[in-house]
Symmetry: C2
């Protein structure tokens, strides 16, 4: 029989981040932010960096109430626009900001180069799971539109990617952290908590990173961290990590 033994098939669990790892996302948020800045720029001078940074400040103070996602971003944009213009913004421009929210929630889901092939190759060797944070409704909609359910049927949508969340997800899979590899574009969300718990991380930087995600304490030379530049490198990287895990387990 060619059926792999349970050990061979299920030894190492591979997690995938979604936004800016499987498909483009930050581009759409950045485009919305640029439009926001130009709308507010019709009222006030936006060359002052503190003024330009006010949206991020509002988003951060609201994170504990709104969580992540395009709906919270839109609400924070409205709040920031009223504050920045001292209430002078017109309702027509408020409507334009509401429309930015709609547009961001319905942005196209374009898989990054080589993603489908890389995920499919890894899924034939390992159990796989998509672990993404953000808005449940929007993430489910994107996953459907990406058409990856056939190769990535297990999905965990979480409100924060911290060590407690990864520990809970791994417990549900009954997999120890040292047999878990997380692939993602964010050192803060995809690598740092996983490495802290004893797991492995594959970092593929995206062309742009949200300022909030740029704060992390990951050593680029961490022994359980790998760096890749495209999805085509994922299968080989996972295979080499998997070999190291098996060596360690049998040492």
């Amino acid at each position: 029989m060619n059926t792999p033994t349970p050990q061979a098939r299920s030894s190492v669990l591979v997690g995938f981040d979604a936004d800016d790892t499987l498909w483009k996302s930050e581009d759409y948020y950045r485009a919305a932010e640029k439009t926001f800045q130009s709308i507010v720029g019709e009222y006030i001078d936006m060359t002052n960096p503190q003024t330009a940074g006010h949206l991020l400040a509002v988003e951060r103070r609201n994170l504990g109430i709104y969580g992540y996602g395009a709906k919270g971003m839109t609400l924070s944009m409205l709040e920031a626009a009223i504050e920045m213009t001292a209430g002078r913004i017109s309702t027509a421009d408020i409507s334009r900001i509401l429309q930015l929210g709609h547009d961001t929630l319905r942005h196209p889901v374009d898989l990054l180069d080589g993603v489908r092939e890389a995920v499919a190759a890894i899924a034939t060797e390992h159990p796989v799971v998509l672990i993404t944070k953000g808005d449940l409704f929007h993430q489910e909609s994107k996953i459907k539109r990406a058409g990856l359910q056939d190769i990535l049927p297990r999905i965990e949508i979480v409100s924060e990617k911290d060590p407690a969340t990864y520990a809970r997800v791994l417990a549900e899979f009954a997999v120890p952290m040292e047999r878990f590899v997380m692939i993602g574009n964010s050192l803060r969300s995809d690598a740092e908590p996983v490495l802290a718990l004893g797991g492995w991380a594959v970092h593929m930087p995206y062309a742009m990173t949200w300022a909030h995600e740029q704060e992390h304490g990951v050593d680029a030379d961490h022994p359980r961290l790998r760096h890749v530049s495209c999805a085509a490198q994922w299968p080989q990287t996972v295979a080499s990590i998997s070999a190291l895990i098996e060596e360690g387990a049998h040492a």
Copy 2:
């Protein structure tokens, strides 16, 4: 040994809805809606039922983009307010509506009478799971504040309570639908899809129901539907359903 056999302990899975089943929720949404109507009422005549119903119309047309929850409600309120006042609403009043969103997201989580005792009693006899729809971040925040994690550790936050969603959750528990009892206040979300799949439902009406949830096709005399008026009746109701399931299984 007093450890129950797997059959005895895990024979019937009991699901609990959250909002307006475990704790008050709709009251806060209704209060927000009332404040919304009074804000818009400063600009236009709200005695016309079509005018008063415009918010629900906007919420419904946005359900496919925003999903359920207080953030989507707030965005729909802003959209509706601008439409209803033909753009005359002031930014001060836009800010009041944004504040309504904040207040709704941070409303107190008050358990309904007898809920803790009823859930605890059922959890000693059956595996239990909380199944709630809406905003992931807000629901997680309420579950934490309710302090029910000790007796209800398994939580499924879903974007829609339709047959496909219940089927997926039950598959994760490896429980057949005919051994599942769902307790909730909504015939549309908690009873109809579960009954359609062959499961059991316990309906406890809440004092108020969102108009959207009032549309359902459930026969009040359905043989697998029970009606209760308070949480204290849950354990006995589940026990009698459980006995019927076991009888059926051994018939």
